[in-house]
Structure formats: C-alpha cells, structure tokens
C-alpha cells in the first residue's frame, strides 16, 4: 500500500529527521500528543520503533469517544429506550460502555432504532423522512465536529423541523489542557507514580491537535507556553509532520524559549476558521463538563444556548445528566492517570488482562484512537 502522498512518509526523509532529532536531543523528552488521531498516527507509522528510547509520548485526552462520560452514555441509553426516538450517531460511539456494561450497540441489538451517520446533516434528512419520529443526533467531539452540529441546528431551525434535536456532549480542548497543566504543577510527580520515568516534569512539550486547530488557530493554546513555559507544536498527521514537530519542540526547549508553533500550516490558518467559531458561538455556550477519566472540568464543554432550546434533547426529554455518581467506573482502572500522562498503559494493572478492546474497562481502551487501545493493538513487545 502506497501512502496517498508518499513524500510524507518517505523513509529517507524520515531517517534524516530522526538523525537530527537524535543529534539535537539534549535530555529525555516526554511530550503529550493531545489528539487521538495523532496517537493512532504515531502507532500506525511505527514511529516509537524508530525514534530514540529517550523519547516518550503520552496520549492526552484528545479522543472524543474515550472522554465521553458514562453519565452521558446513560443519557444516550435513556433516549435509546424511547419508542418514538431515532438516534443518529457517529459509528465509534457504539461500543462505549455505559452503566452496567450497557452500550449503544447492545441497545440496538435489543431493539433501539440507532442509525450510524457520517454528518449531522444526515440526521436532518432522517428527521424529514420520519416526521412522526423524534430524531436525536448524538453530538460528540471537540471543536472539530461542534461547528457541523451548529450548522445542523441552524438548518433545523430554518426548516422549522420540530422533530430534530441534539444531545450535546461536545467538549473543548484548551480547558482540558489547562486543567492537566494546573494539576501537574500543583502535584509534581512522585517517583512511585511514574516508575517508567522517575524524573519530573511529567510533560516537557505538547503536540497540539491539527484538526482542532484548523478551527481554533494557535491563539487558544498560547497559555501553554506563556503561563506554563511548555513548547507546543500544532502538527500534521503524516510521519514527517510528527517528526518535524518533535524537532521543533526539542529546539525550543534547548533555547529555553517556549512558543506555540504551527507546523501544520498547509491546513491550519493563523486565525483558524472564524466562520466556524462564529457558528459555534451562535448556538453553543461553554459549560462545565464531565470527562471520563478526568472528572468535572470547568467550562470545558458546550451546551446549547437558550435561544435554541427547542433543539436541545436534554430539555426536550427532561434528561438529567448531572449526577456522576450514577455512573460507576472500575475503581482499579488507571485511565485517569494515563490521560494525565502519569503512567504508560502497560503500568495499569488491568491493561491487557481485564481490560481489552472487546471488553474495555476504561475510556482509553474504548475507541481505536484511545491510548490504551492503540498501545494494545500496535505496540510490539508490551
């Protein structure tokens, strides 16, 4: 299989970048790739087998499926149990465990009407085609998918579609990173917490999400450099993109000049996508949000504004999404620490024993983009 553009995974080019990284790496580098697509790209290209053993990548909270809280899945399941409801969902939400091991996939097997779609606009079509049913779109994802949900809600209002609503579970990337950094600063890592690398700090640098940045631009990530002194690189997803991003991180750290650099300039504009942000702002407002593995993070989610309340499934179906206690997670699960960069998946006692992709105990094993799942699938000799 030839890569779509072979230049970006050219072995010679990769070799050259790897040599420079090796030359310029002055001390061990622990970087966090925030986005689940980066996690998958790193593993799928086999990069950990190529780069220095002094480089550790830590998979952050950037897989939207993984961080969808089981309380939110409970709400999806509540909707799935209603005869009049057609749920429209992106495919990878199907296997996430909710309370009592129930998932949307299981709910479908038991008779729930759940349709897999590729765009929120398809959910609108479903609502038009099924006027007697209530179509609920399950809105998950970060700033990348939220604008499309906003478009669907605006279009539904314009078309006066009364049988369409959205269960909004969208989350915001920068507040989650801020929470991680604040916590890392407050509790410097203790040796027993990070046996794989006892040397603090937990994180030296960030590989920032390329897709999210097409919407946000670099600006919302500046605090990482300005307030926490960590270099951040907005990177593309091809092997050469990722390696070049690493080199940029290493150089910034060496110079002691932390900045946010845009390596993925072929896709990410310096101003991001103002139109998409305006649409998001029109329909949504920031709110506190529950993250699986991380808990409640202030102002890290989106909720539908009062002006669009008619399209808010929470209101329409009187769903109570506020009680995290109703959602029990396996207490031995260490996903929270994996997501915070404190341990590697293999250091979790459940990993590959109790917790495997077909029976995930925690969020990081759920989606193919979760760090534990990627580690389980692709890492040689774990």
């Amino acid at each position: 299989m030839q890569p779509i553009d072979p230049t970006f995974s050219d072995p010679e080019l990769c070799r050259g970048l790897l040599d420079r990284i090796e030359d310029e790496l002055d001390s061990p580098l622990r970087f966090m790739e925030v986005c689940g697509t980066h996690t998958t790209a790193i593993f799928r290209a086999g990069l950990p087998s190529l780069w220095s053993s002094r480089i550790t990548h830590i998979s952050g909270p950037g897989c939207p499926v993984c961080v969808t809280h089981s309380r939110e899945i409970a709400s999806c399941l509540e909707l799935a149990g209603k005869d009049e409801v057609i749920l429209a969902s992106f495919g990878d939400l199907m296997r996430i465990p909710g309370p009592k091991g129930m998932s949307l996939g299981r709910a479908r097997a038991k008779g729930a009407d759940l349709r897999i779609i590729y765009s929120p606009l398809e959910a609108l079509e479903l609502a038009v085609q099924n006027p007697k049913r209530a179509v609920v779109f399950l809105g998950v994802g970060f700033e990348t998918t939220a604008p499309a949900t906003a478009v669907a809600i605006c279009a539904a209002r314009q078309a006066k579609l009364e049988n369409f609503s959205v269960l909004c579970m969208h989350k915001l990337t920068p507040p989650a990173l801020r929470a991680l950094l604040r916590e890392a600063e407050q509790e410097p890592v203790k040796e027993e917490d990070a046996p794989s690398n006892p040397v603090a700090p937990i994180l030296d640098a960030f590989l920032l999400p390329g897709h999210v940045s097409t919407i946000l631009g670099p600006e919302p990530f500046r605090f990482i450099a300005d307030e926490y002194g960590k270099p951040g690189v907005i990177g593309g997803f091809e092997p050469t993109d990722i390696l070049q991003s690493l080199l940029l991180m290493i150089r910034m750290r060496k110079k002691g000049r932390a900045k946010i650099v845009n390596q993925y300039s072929r896709a990410v504009d310096a101003k991001g996508n103002a139109k998409a942000r305006a649409l998001m702002d029109e329909v949504f407002t920031a709110a506190d949000s529950l993250w699986r593995g991380l808990g409640l993070i202030p102002q890290s989610g989106l909720e539908i504004r009062a002006a669009y309340v008619d399209f808010d499934a929470r209101e329409r179906f009187s769903l109570d999404c506020s009680d995290p206690a109703s959602a029990l997670e396996n207490p031995a699960c260490k996903c929270g620490e994996v997501l915070r960069g404190r341990i590697s998946p293999r250091e979790c006692p459940l990993f590959a024993k109790v917790c495997v992709p077909e029976r995930p105990a925690g969020p990081c094993m759920v989606s193919s983009e979760g760090s534990c799942a990627a580690f389980f699938r692709y890492q040689i000799d774990f």
């Binding site: 299989m1 030839q2 890569p3 779509i4 072979p6 995974s9 050219d10 072995p11 990769c14 070799r15 986005c35 689940g36 697509t37 593993f43 799928r44 290209a45 086999g46 990069l47 950990p48 087998s49 190529l50 939207p64 499926v65 992106f90 495919g91 990878d92 939400l93 199907m94 296997r95 897999i116 590729y118 998950v140 994802g141 970060f142 990348t144 998918t145 897709h211 092997p239 050469t240 992709p357 077909e358 989606s367 193919s368 983009e369 389980f376 699938r377 692709y378 890492q379 040689i380 000799d381």
Partner: protein
Amino acid sequence: MSEDYLLLEHGSGGRAAQRLIRDLFLPHFANPVLERMDDAAYLEAGPGALAMSTDGYTVDPVEFPGGDIGCLAVHGTVNDVSMLGARPLYLSCAFIMEEGLPLSLLERLARSMGKAARAAGVLIVTGDTKVVPRGAADKIFIVSTGIGRILAEPAPGGARAAVGDAVLVSGQVGEHGLTILTAREGIRGFAGLRSDCASLNHLVEALIREIGNIHVLRDPTRGGLATALGEIAVQSGTVCRVRERDVPVRAETAAACSLLGLDPLYLANEGKLICILPAAKAEAALTVLRRFPEGRAAACIGTIEAPGAGTRSGQTVLETAPGGRRLLPILEGEPLPRIC
C-alpha cells in the same frame, strides 16, 4: 411469470413453489443432476479425499457494484472449497426469502448465480426455497454448501505456514468491503468502486498443478487481509512479517479509506487469496497468478518468521511505510468510520 412479487404460497411446497423453482431457478441452474428433481442429489464420488464448506450470505444491499448476493453465494463457497487445494464440483443452495421480494430481482439473482457457477465449472445440484413473512428476513438470505475433490496431498492449511515461507496476495485488497459499506450507508462521492467478487478455483488449480507444495491458501474475506494473516500466524505458531508498501491497494481504495477512517487491510475481499509457500517458489507462483485476470496485481508482501525480537508466536508485524515496525492485529468489532 405473471406474479410480480414473491408470496408466502411460493414457499408452501405446493404448485406455486414448484412453478417458482421450475420457471425461475431451473433455467439458470440447468444440469442433469438437478433436473432429476429427487429429494437428494445423486453424486459420483470416485476415489480420494473431499473438501466441503458451507456459508450463509446476508449481504445488504443485495445488488452492489460488481456483483450481487447470488454470484457472491457461488464465488464465496467455491473459494472456500478451493482454499483446501480442491477442485469444487457441486453446490447446494438454500434460499430464505422475504415475502414481497420482486420476482424480477429474484430472477436477476438466479441468472447471476447460474452464470457464476458456469464460469467456475461447478454444478448447483440441490436446493431449497423458503418464504418467510415480511420482516422475518431482510429480502433474501442464501446458504450455499460446496463439495470438491482434493487435488494434492498434503492439502494446504493454515498450520502449514513454515519459517522462511513467502507470503503472496493475489491482488488489490479492500475493494469488496469498501463497496458494500459505501453502498449500504449511502455514502456518496465514491463512484468507480467495485466489488472484486470472483471465483478463484481455476487460479488455485493452476497453482497446485504448476507450482505444487503450496503450504497455505486462504481467502481474506471478513476481517480482511490483516485478520487472515493473524489467523494463519496463530494456527502455525509463527510470526508473519508484512511490508506495508508491498501490499497492493488501488489508489482509489486508499483515498476513500483515508477519508472514511477505514483501513483497507481490514476490509473484506471476495476474489482474492493469500498464498504461502517456500520462498524459492514465490516468483514462479507470482507468474502463474498474474496470468489470470483476477491475479494480475499479485504481489509478494512478506515472509513467515520464527518468534523472537520482541514478537510472540501468532503475531503479525507490519513494516510501515516510513520504515518502522508495529503489530498488525486481528479485527475487533465492525470496521466503523471514526468521528474526527
């Protein structure tokens, strides 16, 4: 036929059922064994071992670019029998059909099955038709069973993959799965995708006769190439090493998969085979494969190795395009598109 739609009485065993079989199926399946119309088919067995395989076909949509459930029920079972290094001879077919199925559609499917069977040189010798009420089945399900004669001993088998063997694949992978998925989900914008479904028995017979000592033959259907290789590694207690750059994938397939978040190595094929044999015979086997239209893009994609160097028996290791190494695991769940 005067009726337009399949009715429950077509499955009653009475006149309507007889008419359906006589007028709709028999003309396309015509052969002397079937035409005796007894309760069972009378088959000449002869000496030697037999291969037998059965498979149920439930594909949705029932007609798709490059094929339909009818020809698939022939190709799929012919291929399964062939993978034991056998010459498929006879097929049985059971049809479970939903009331209300347009007879014109059924006629197209029967014609397609007859054509596929003639091309493969197999006889459909017995069958059954059932009609179930609307909603009790989705349009039409077909179960076909095939019997064939083993051509060479020892027959190819997954456990026979041996350290040092070469791993060949007979053509570009992922096309059937991608075609079905995009057709079923109504994903537009990928015109030109076609299922690769085809019978491979002639190609297998040429390999067995001209090359010999084929250790493994396997058709990578559901779960795709990656899963089939993983199963072979487990069966044989070896490690399969695959070079990503050498796996044939059509550029259109790769582009569509990249957009949809799918991996062509996990998508079903219905007209491809994996052939594992001693490395010294690899070139000659490729020459044979490339002689056939369905083997034109055949390639050597890897080798069978002993466990070690961080790998355990039963694993498949992929050498990635940029030169790295990672595991190529077997499929879990359904291949579903990602959301970001």
